[in-house]
């Protein structure tokens, strides 16, 4: 063992590890020992230091696997190995002494992972719908003993359904109609059809899913606390109440520092938290359940694969007269968030284009594969991939420029979307398009490269093929339609001696929630950024600010906080916080979401203002294709984003750069190989994400057109960056002579695309 005096000294230096971490400390803002503090008062628009930055670069911040509790057990999940069927028998081929074992009969409340449909059991009782479905839970104090426990499960198999298109089990359908699509086709000079396919994508946060459940020291029936890596503590809170049959106050959920989410920790933590809680409930001891990478990839949610069909009427000069779009998503075995993913998918299916006659039909169905769920972009990357590739193909067919067709049809202020939403002054499709085209010299570069592609220009075939392509996209900020009204999110601000403390359930998962919220509050109160603290996202303390999803944390929750701060400032008058606290005692201000007065949404008809507002972006990518290996290398990437006024430009840029890299992975590398309903390549060696050498230099531009209902004019930014890269890549491939309608554009597909385009 390590010498005690060494451990002692480490402790003095604040470098405690799991051994001494018997208690989870509430998040304490950095004391900035190493940094000079930013003393200026105007915080918004400045690149202040990230709240937990020091802890992250020194390795002192604690993620769930860094924590330990006295008497803690380690847990393991026994999962199905078949895609469809029934459990016939379970045999425990080990000495069960010292083990806590939980199956569906140990569930005190309802055996569901409560979300939208409540169709997914926490533990399979009899029916199995997918590979890696949880059946049995084991816990033991010794991880080595736990690992060696052998469980055998006997099944009766039934034929699995893998094809979403023919699946009779439909989770949700959505129809959007605008104008008269048949009349639109009659007005068209040309009709262009196209089918497009997108694959699964794994979120691949570098920290796997994990939680620790701690029963109340007075006995489990007194309540339970779950700590964990998650995006949405109140989702977990609700799921635990239903699973355990407990009232609100007996369940507490505390987010620990979270090593990435990307949607993958939106709904799944409700599952894993439930499992740890069941074991803690039964054993009366703290239980840690942290997945390893393979398990995380095999069992947790992924992006929905999609098949999107377009039939588009267009005039000779490129004006869209009719858009008929069919969207099919593969939901996997349970409903999870599929209905909402489909909703965002269809609401973005026209892309950022105006058309008077639109028909959209969306459907998400069940297959016997692990459930798909939330992933950055949430349906929009799939549908906008199809639209943006289709638009380029239409331009090709008409013999017009890809920029021109977008200029003709791009939504402008005052235009209406497919749901009839009249767009505001911050509608900036044309601005981002023109800026990106200008910045990259797109038209000139495209002509240059086209000359290089003419037959005979490179007889020795020594130069790689090159192509350049672009995409124009939009992304709604916040929940869809009436979602924000239904959520009725709340945020609180408490006065402290130094300034203020933020209490929200919005989580910091790398995107900068704490920092950006503190900037909004500091700016509004007119106090230094460092005088604003952020409380841990702990349901025992913070109000329900809604989930940390849907590009809503800044624009929606940030705006509620701004209103809290405005009221606090009014209450303070000319007093300092210290004076106020002495004179009036504690001050806590809580505000609820307020819908902008002009927003209307009809959920039955899918008409009205689908989102408060939209961000707009144009991506340009230039790439090289190795003629011998069909490997595609992006060599230049430019993205122009209009996201309102960025609160923290460096963090916003980080979102765009990171989302773009993830989008390039989606476009080129990342393929989930499903074999017999099981992810066959569930390892980082075989599911490949971009490394430093795969990511091109990025030129990022942010145009800021303030949105009147966002805090200081901000809109959402988290999701949009992942929408554009894939269609820009496939359009660039098409420019280079490779005709693909499917991602990822792996070398194997590019090879076939080259063959088919040369043959046609």
């Amino acid at each position: 063992m390590i010498r005690a005096d060494l451990l002692q000294r480490s402790r003095l230096e604040g470098l405690q590890g799991s051994k001494s971490a018997d208690r989870v400390p509430a998040f304490v803002p950095s004391d900035n020992r190493l940094m000079t503090r930013s003393r200026r008062l105007n915080a918004v628009g400045r690149n202040v230091l990230r709240k937990e930055g020091i802890e992250k670069v020194t390795g002192t911040v604690r993620y769930i696997d860094d924590l330990s509790f006295p008497g803690m057990l380690h847990a393991r999940t026994i999962r199905s190995t078949i895609p469809a069927g029934e459990i016939v028998g379970i045999r425990l081929n080990f000495d069960t002494d010292g083990f806590t074992i939980v199956d569906h009969r140990d569930i005190p409340g309802r055996n569901v992972v409560a979300l939208i449909e409540d169709d997914q059991p926490s533990l399979a009782a009899r029916a199995v719908r997918h590979v890696a479905e949880p059946i049995l839970l084991l816990a033991h104090p010794d991880r080595d003993v736990l690992r060696s426990a052998d469980v055998e499960i006997e099944y009766r198999q039934t034929p699995p359904q893998y094809d979403a298109g023919t699946s009779p089990a439909i989770f949700k359908t959505i129809a959007i109609d605008k104008g008269d699509v048949e009349a639109g086709f009659r007005a068209a000079d040309v009709i262009v059809d196209g089918d497009y396919r997108t694959g699964h994508q794994e979120q691949l946060y570098i920290e796997t899913n994990g939680v620790i459940a701690v029963p109340d020291p007075a006995g489990a029936d007194h309540g339970i606390t779950v700590y964990g890596s998650m995006q949405c503590p109140y989702y977990v809170h609700r799921a635990l109440k239903i699973l355990l049959g407990l009232p609100d106050e007996k369940v507490r959920v505390v987010q620990t520092e979270t090593g990435g989410g990307f949607g993958g920790k939106e709904e799944y933590p409700s599952m894993i938290a439930g499992h740890a809680a069941l074991l803690a409930w039964k054993s009366g001891r703290p239980v840690k359940l942290v997945y390893d990478r393979v398990e995380d990839m095999l069992a947790t949610t992924k992006r929905h694969p999609g098949v999107i069909r377009h039939r588009t009427g267009v005039t000779r000069d490129g004006r869209l007269t009719a858009m008929d779009i069919d969207v099919l998503l593969d939901g996997g075995a349970y409903a999870t968030l599929s209905a909402v993913v489909l909703s965002r998918g269809v609401l973005h299916a026209t892309g950022p284009y105006g058309c008077d006659h639109v028909r959209i039909r969306g459907r998400v169905t069940m297959t016997n594969t692990p459930p798909n769920g939330a992933f950055r972009g949430f349906g929009a990357p799939q549908t906008q991939f199809a639209t943006e590739v289709h638009i380029d193909r239409i331009a090709d067919r008409l013999g017009i420029d890809p920029v021109r067709i977008r200029e003709v049809n791009a939504l402008r202020p005052g235009d209406t979307t497919a749901t009839g939403q009249r767009l505001g002054a911050d509608t900036s499709a044309l601005q981002v398009l023109r800026e990106a085209v200008k910045r990259t010299g797109f038209k000139r570069r495209r002509r240059q490269l086209s000359r290089g592609l003419t037959p005979g220009s490179d007889p020795s075939r020594t130069r790689p093929l090159r192509g350049i392509g672009l995409s124009l996209i939009f992304h709604g900020s916040g929940f869809t339609g009436g979602g924000e009204v239904k959520l009725a999110s709340r945020a609180s601000l408490a006065l402290t001696e130094r300034g203020a403390r933020i209490l929200v359930a919005s989580t910091e998962i790398g995107q900068g929630t704490r920092t950006m919220h503190a900037q909004i509050v500091a700016e509004t109160l007119g106090i230094p950024y460092d005088a604003v603290e952020v409380n841990a996202a702990d349901t025992g303390v913070v109000p329900d600010s809604g989930p940390t999803v849907a590009s809503r944390t800044c624009m929606i929750v940030g705006r509620i906080l701004q209103r809290c701060a405005e009221e606090m400032k009014a209450r303070l008058g000319r007093m300092t916080p210290k004076q106020y606290l002495r004179a009036h005692g504690p001050l806590m201000i809580t505000k609820e979401y307020e819908r902008p007065a002009e927003m209307r949404w009809d959920d039955a008809m899918y008409r009205g203002d689908a989102y408060g507002t939209y961000g707009w972006a144009c991506d340009v990518v230039e790439l090289e294709i190795d003629r011998d290996t069909w490997e595609v290398k992006p060599v230049m990437f430019t993205s122009v984003h209009e996201i309102g006024r960025p609160i923290h430009p460096l963090l916003a840029r980080g979102q765009i750069e990171g989302g773009s890299a993830q989008g390039l992975g989606y476009a080129l590398l990342e393929e989930v190989v499903m074999r017999d309903g099981r992810m066959a390549n569930a390892q980082l060696t075989n599911y490949i994400i971009p490394t430093t050498l795969d990511t091109p230099p990025m030129d990022i531009v942010m145009l800021g057109i303030p949105y009147p209902h966002g805090p200081f004019g901000a809109k959402g930014v988290g999701e949009m960056p992942i929408d554009g890269p894939a269609p820009a890549v496939v359009n660039a491939l098409r420019h280079a002579g490779i005709d693909l309608r499917e991602i990822p554009a792996t070398p194997e597909r590019v090879m076939r695309g080259e063959v088919s385009s040369f043959e046609s």
Partner: protein
């Protein structure tokens, strides 16, 4: 030598260095991301060279100098630069990334940084902010 201090341990020789640090030494700054040597989250320095500690039996560092993120004591210029230039987002890859960057050396060219960090996966930043951080570390 662990972070400059002579350290004696009595553990199974095949125990992973990563687990020894996290479980026996209380040094949880070194993270596990994959257990297959792909992600680099568990990177630390053994005799000044970066290795994946999830693939190192503790027996292999007997007599060696092991340096983890804790050993930089918050004083390395890279640590400051990662905070200032957005090199750390969710932070889980950050300790390994910084240790790999330490091994890249002072004033590296972009190509050296890209090659030196090719064994460290980051899902948040797209690497751009990491390059900026490494290049501007003083």
């Amino acid at each position: 030598m662990l972070n400059g201090r002579r350290t004696r341990l009595d553990v199974h020789p095949m125990k992973r260095l990563l687990d020894v640090l996290r479980e026996e030494c209380g040094l949880t700054g070194t993270k596990e991301g994959c257990g297959e040597g792909e992600c680099g989250a568990c990177t630390l320095l053994v005799d000044n060279r970066p290795v994946n500690s999830c693939l190192v039996p503790v027996a292999h560092v007997a007599g060696a100098r092991v340096m983890t993120i804790e050993g930089l004591r918050g004083r390395h210029p890279l640590q400051r630069a990662f905070v200032e230039h957005g090199g750390a987002q969710c932070g889980i890859c950050t300790p390994g990334m910084i240790m790999a960057a330490v091994a890249v050396g002072r004033k590296p060219a972009l190509d050296q940084i890209r090659t030196g960090l090719a064994g460290n996966l980051c899902r948040c930043t797209g690497y751009e902010a990491i390059y900026r951080s490494v290049m501007r570390a003083r």
